[in-house]
């Protein structure tokens, strides 16, 4: 009888805390993307599949290649992380003040050690932010952020 009580209690606790964990943690995908026109464009990576048409509509290029990316699971909502390529790095700092409308983040784009651009945003789930960066060769650097 006592063993069954312990088992049942354990099951409930696992369900309750598992549910809290499942709801409380979300993943932010951030990517550095080079958009350009290619004679034989490569297919987009899986992270960009659902955004491909939107990117083409906005920027008009036929190829979108991820040159740097990161996936961060937000647990406390107050974390910082980095997505980087060989020459660019995107520093993301999740700040206090998150609520049901989204995560408040502060972002900085560096080209090596030079700060090119900085901005503050409120990220909502499933609503991407796309940033048009500098011209790179015959293409364009784009920065993408989305809470998955």
């Amino acid at each position: 009888m006592q063993r069954r009580s312990v088992l049942l209690l354990g099951l409930w606790l696992a369900l309750i805390f598992g549910g809290v964990q499942a709801r409380g943690s979300e993943t932010v995908w951030s990517g550095l993307v080079i958009a350009n026109n290619a004679p034989k464009p490569e297919p987009v990576s899986s992270e960009l599949t659902y955004l491909e048409e939107t990117l083409k509509d906005w920027f008009g290029y036929n190829q979108y290649k991820v040159i740097g990316q990161s996936q961060k699971v937000l647990v406390t909502g107050s974390e910082d992380w980095l997505a980087q390529s060989k020459y660019f790095s995107l520093h993301i700092d999740s700040k206090e003040g998150n609520d049901k409308t989204g995560y408040r983040v502060k972002l900085k784009l560096f080209q090596e050690s030079n700060l090119l651009l900085e901005w503050e945003a409120k990220l909502s789930k499933g609503r991407p932010i796309i940033v048009k960066g500098p011209q790179v060769g015959d293409g364009q650097l784009l920065l993408l952020l989305v809470v998955q």
Binding site: L8, S85, W119, E120, R127, P134
Partner: protein
């Protein structure tokens, strides 16, 4: 007080004796005819006994059992005890366990339903750019524009005039 028919039947069966017998026979209007009728009835009775014997019951045990069950169920008082002495209602302990198990199953189903929400779950709010700036020393002519596209469900920060970089900066 017996009726005439009862006394007549008893007289034919030979069960009237003494004073009753004398009184009944005295009341008969024609004793000889009654005696003749009595003999005929007795002859008929003997004939029927001889030619129509009682059929032996082949399943009398089963019949008796069914009869006893029926009598028992008809006379039973509704209680918390079944006919064989076992308890009809579950004990409190078992009810508590059944309730707890049902709740656990409900929690488990709810948990998995909540977990398996479709991946397309989206906020009703678009992401917002709160503020943005470029380094005026590195890109003095740069401009910034913000767009929120409800149709595409994206927020775009559009910059113009950032310093261009050579193609090797596109490497991973």
């Amino acid at each position: 007080m017996k009726t005439f028919e009862e006394k007549w039947t008893a007289w034919i069966d030979g069960q009237l004796t003494g004073h009753d017998l004398a009184e009944f026979e005295a009341s008969l209007p024609d004793l000889a005819a009654a005696e003749a009728e009595k003999r005929e009835a007795q002859t008929l009775g003997a004939f029927l006994k001889e030619h129509l014997p009682c059929r032996a019951m082949g399943n009398e045990e089963f019949f008796s059992h069914q009869l006893r069950e029926k009598i028992a169920s008809d006379t039973a008082v509704p209680t918390s005890q079944s006919a064989d002495g076992g308890r009809v209602w579950w004990p409190i302990g078992r009810l508590v366990w059944v309730g707890a198990t049902a709740l656990a199953l409900f929690s488990a189903v709810t948990f998995f339903v909540v977990r398996e929400k479709p991946a397309t779950d989206q906020s009703q709010y678009l992401s917002q750019i709160l503020n943005a700036r470029v380094d005026p020393v590195v890109s003095p002519n740069a401009t910034i524009t913000m767009f929120e596209s409800k149709e595409d469900k994206v927020t775009v920060l559009w910059t113009e005039g950032l310093r261009s970089l050579p193609s090797e900066y596109a490497s991973k």
